[in-house]
């Protein structure tokens, strides 16, 4: 199994990137300071040879050029230590150095309604260029804080928390210790954002809190998981819950803590879907085989539902040249599953497992039905940049909004999927515990009916 680190995190010298920028016409118009540029990318040498022109990595567009394009757009943003703008609101809590982490607001130097910048619920359908476009405007202020001692961390952290709970964009003046330095951080769990710098001072304008969230915030006897569920039940967007969750807004007073953004996303997806799963288990099983589909950002989702007791599996296939399979020759597949009883260990494939689980449970609860659900995902070569777990959540949610194709037998459903995917269905079956189960595991009832 391919389970080594999926995060290419080597800080390689930025010489080759400068070469690319000088070699292409991208950087021509902008006078950028070379010291502002730090690149994080694969150091396997292909990029040096390719310089963004030959597509040696197999991707449809050179991700470095795409990133550099946006990066350079934000170069003007990096000329000043004083950023004034409307925060969507948005905050980011890092995970490096846990329990001492860097937390702070994300602020774009823009004075208009920026609320959509941090609400992935409204991003579905937008192009990758558009999303990276507004995300790269978000400048991240950083302030070091101990996750449990945030109460005494001072004004900057107090203001950050205040901002995170705001219902609308808030005017923020972010005074940085030095000019923001950038790399565009790209990650499969976290939405991308722009350059960053340590905070000197933070001035936050008048904020009005989301009153539902405020109620949970002031209730220091309410457990964090219960708070999350209560808010979700009242229709508060998952993103808003997650944002408040990350700055220690929920839970028993003594247990409150900052939670790194990427962990908080999965925590919230996991808490909510766990609750929904328990509901699903009380509903009658669906009576046919169903296939739901959605394609977005070159991610093809086929969601198969089987008329059987609740169990869940997610399988992803990455083409050579895609984000997590940059230099491979073959398609790489990851999978994880759980049976009726659920799982107690963290799914190896990461946050997208829980995001998709949330999306499918929402549909089953809405319909008051139970099923075995298998989420199949093909990431195609033009998916050059990871944009965050939201892509999975919203893509699967979109699939659930469509009318499913229904079939009488599993064979017919699998034939349908085989036609939609490029990877042979046999490879999916061999990879899938639940499909193998459905195909090979007999039931006691098979032997009672015969009599």
């Amino acid at each position: 199994m391919w389970s080594s680190s999926r995060h290419v995190d080597k800080r390689s010298p930025n010489v080759w990137l400068l070469d690319i920028l000088k070699g292409s016409n991208v950087g021509a118009e902008v006078n950028f300071d070379e010291n502002l540029l730090v690149a994080r990318a694969s150091s396997n040498g292909l990029c040096v040879a390719c310089k963004g022109s030959r597509f040696l990595c197999g991707k449809a567009r050179c991700p470095i050029i795409v990133k550099a394009n946006y990066f350079l757009k934000s170069v003007p943003l990096m000329q000043s230590e004083d950023i004034a703008g409307a925060s969507p609101p948005s905050v980011f809590v890092g995970r490096i150095g846990y329990p001492y982490v860097y937390a702070g607001p994300l602020v774009p130097p823009v004075q208009e309604d920026t609320s959509v910048y941090d609400l992935p619920e409204f991003w579905f359908g937008k192009s990758i260029d558009e999303i990276v476009g507004f995300r790269s405007m978000l400048i991240r202020g950083k302030h070091r804080v101990h996750v449990q001692k945030f109460e005494k961390a001072g004004k900057i952290i107090d203001k950050t928390r205040e901002l995170a709970l705001a219902v609308k964009p808030v005017d923020v003046e972010l005074i940085l210790k030095k000019k923001p330095r950038g790399f565009l951080l790209l990650d499969d769990e976290v939405q991308p954002f722009g350059p960053s710098a340590p905070i000197k001072d933070l001035i936050v304008g008048n904020t009005r809190w989301d009153h539902q969230i405020e109620k949970a915030y002031s209730d220091t006897d309410l457990r964090a998981a219960e708070a999350v569920l209560e808010l979700y039940g009242k229709g508060v967007l998952v993103t808003k819950i997650q944002r408040a969750f990350s700055v220690g807004s929920f839970g028993l007073e003594k247990n409150r803590r900052f939670v790194p953004t990427r962990w908080s996303i999965t925590a919230v997806d996991s808490i909510i879907s766990k609750e929904l799963m328990e509901k699903v288990k009380t509903f009658p099983e669906i009576s046919e085989y169903r296939v739901y589909e959605s394609v977005y950002l070159d991610n093809v989702f086929e969601v198969l539902m089987l008329p059987s007791a609740w169990s869940y599996e997610a399988i992803e296939a990455w083409y050579p040249g895609t984000v997590w399979n940059p230099s491979g020759r073959n398609v790489v597949m990851f999978s994880d599953w759980e049976d009726y009883e659920g799982r107690t260990t963290y799914a190896e494939i990461g946050g997208c497992y829980y995001a998709a689980r949330l999306a499918v449970c929402e549909q089953l609860v809405k319909e008051q039905r139970q099923a075995t659900v298998i989420v199949l995902r093909e990431a195609h070569p033009s998916y050059i940049m990871p944009v965050g777990v939201w892509q999975v959540r919203e893509n699967v949610r979109n699939a659930m909004r469509q009318k499913p194709y229904t079939f009488k037998t599993l064979d017919e459903a699998l034939k349908w999927i085989a036609n939609r995917f490029q990877i042979p269905i046999q490879r999916w079956i061999m990879r899938s515990e639940l499909l193998k189960n459905a195909l090979f595991q007999k039931r006691i009832t098979d032997f009672i009916a015969k009599i």
């Binding site: 009726y340 195909l439 090979f440 595991q441 039931r443 006691i444 032997f447």
Partner: protein, 251 residues
């Protein structure tokens, strides 16, 4: 109304644990003769058939046949509070619909828990002609299953008149475990014809592990590509039998 009393709380706890492998909500049938339960797991891959005649209990009174459905894991939480040599008493208050669990030993505890709507589903046992019958120690079986689990998620069980063989094949590793007739682990073996069938190890291991607490000797019966029947011999009278459907790989 019924009231039952058992001098050995552990026996009840072990039995309920064994049942809990397959079901969350269990519907017990209680009548003049005793206590019964037959249920399938949610995926309908396995079945448990359990019976305790009234003679198992130290005290057994019931006025009329009743069905009682309870949440097994909740009940287990309460039963786990009972130590060795403590006495447990179950009674149903029909007015409130609550089950009372009284544990007495060094001190007395009186728990109440709600009963749920009883399932009306009647589950017949599969009627299968078994070609192999093997009697083994539960300890030997658990060991053999643990061996197989090291390499795979499922195991092929084969038998003729000489031996019982467990064959596990994983992606990379394999295991063959042989139990000879008349060995310490395999007490008896009869095969009308050589047979083999494949089963999920997660079910098998859990069933054998938990049922072993109630029994030292198990009788296995199976036929080619048919469900396996595992009967765990009970010290006092009573019956604890599991059925598990096979895996049949067809290409």
């Amino acid at each position: 109304m019924f009231k039952i009393k058992m001098a050995d709380a552990k026996l009840l706890r072990d039995m309920v644990t064994a049942i809990s492998i397959l079901v969350d909500e269990a519907t017990f049938k209680i009548d003049q003769k005793g206590l019964k339960l037959r249920a399938m797991d949610p995926s309908r891959v396995a079945m448990v058939d359990f019976e305790w005649p009234k003679t198992v209990f130290d005290e057994y009174t019931t006025t009329e046949p009743t069905k009682m459905c309870i949440n097994i894991s909740e009940m287990l939480k309460l039963l786990k509070r009972a130590g060795k040599d403590e006495v447990v008493e179950l009674s149903l208050d029909e007015k409130t619909g609550k089950l009372q669990i009284k544990i007495t030993g060094k001190y007395a505890r009186n728990f109440t828990m709600p009963t749920l709507e009883a399932s009306e589903e009647e589950v017949p046992t599969p009627k299968i002609t078994f070609n192999v019958k093997a009697k083994a120690t539960t300890q030997g079986l658990s060991q053999a299953i643990e061996d197989a689990q090291l390499v795979s998620d499922h195991v092929r069980i084969e038998a003729d008149n000489e031996k019982l063989v467990l064959n596990a094949a994983g992606d990379l590793m394999g295991a063959t475990i042989t139990l000879q007739k008349g060995s310490d682990a395999l007490l008896d073996l009869e095969a009308k014809e050589p047979s083999k069938a494949t089963f999920s190890l997660s079910y098998l291991s859990e069933i054998i592990k938990e049922a072993s607490a109630t029994s030292d000797i198990a009788t296995l019966e199976f036929s080619t590509d048919m469900p396996i029947k595992l009967d765990f011999q009970q010290a006092k009278e009573g019956k604890l039998t599991f059925y598990l459907a096979p895996r049949i790989e067809t290409e």
